[in-house]
Symmetry: C2
């Protein structure tokens, strides 16, 4: 059970694994930094702590962005889309958003 506000939980449309994708955008540069996945508890923690918190599908655990790297995301806004199945976080990013050291996770592989 998550402590997520029931009024918010009722609006979320989760995938088969109970997760919602969360797009993260830099508040200043407006760059799209990364995408992560949240379950209700990760969203609850994000909303209450003001730090982006995701569910790691590979490690099967919660992770606070920047917990080990120091590259924290201070959350300014959290928005839910018209279908209730995608979140948008607008953040102040400390340091590089990508674990590779790149500014964003989309910097290095341009297909077109």
């Amino acid at each position: 059970m998550s402590s997520l506000d029931p009024a918010i939980a009722a609006r979320l449309k989760r995938n088969e694994a109970g997760l919602v994708p969360a797009v993260v955008q830099d508040a200043t540069s407006r760059a799209v930094l990364m995408m992560g996945w949240m379950d209700d508890e990760a969203l609850h923690r994000t909303l209450t702590t003001g730090r982006s918190t995701f569910w790691s599908r590979s490690r099967e655990e919660y992770w606070v962005k920047g917990e080990t790297s120091g590259h924290t995301q201070h959350v300014r806004e959290v928005r839910l889309d018209c279908d209730g199945d995608t979140l948008l976080l607008v953040v102040d990013q400390v340091g590089a958003a990508c674990h590779t050291g790149a500014t964003t996770c989309f910097d290095e592989d341009r297909l077109a």
Copy 2:
């Protein structure tokens, strides 16, 4: 079978349904407009036509954004993230991006 370039197909990490989420960003305002889902063929069509093309999970068919509304997306850039499991499209959006008439799909429901 899709006609997607095998060099690109080899880099994609798809979910259980063979899909990759595609975040769409406005090239001018830098707003995050929406998120859609693509399989290999939708990505192939997007890359070759320059119009955002998605796979509709509910209707189980391809859809070209703006095909009925006229609110087309002219694709300037397509990027793949560091994990190969998320796409970013940078587009010139004609009209409103959201089917509700809102500028973006994230305009109307702010959680924080």
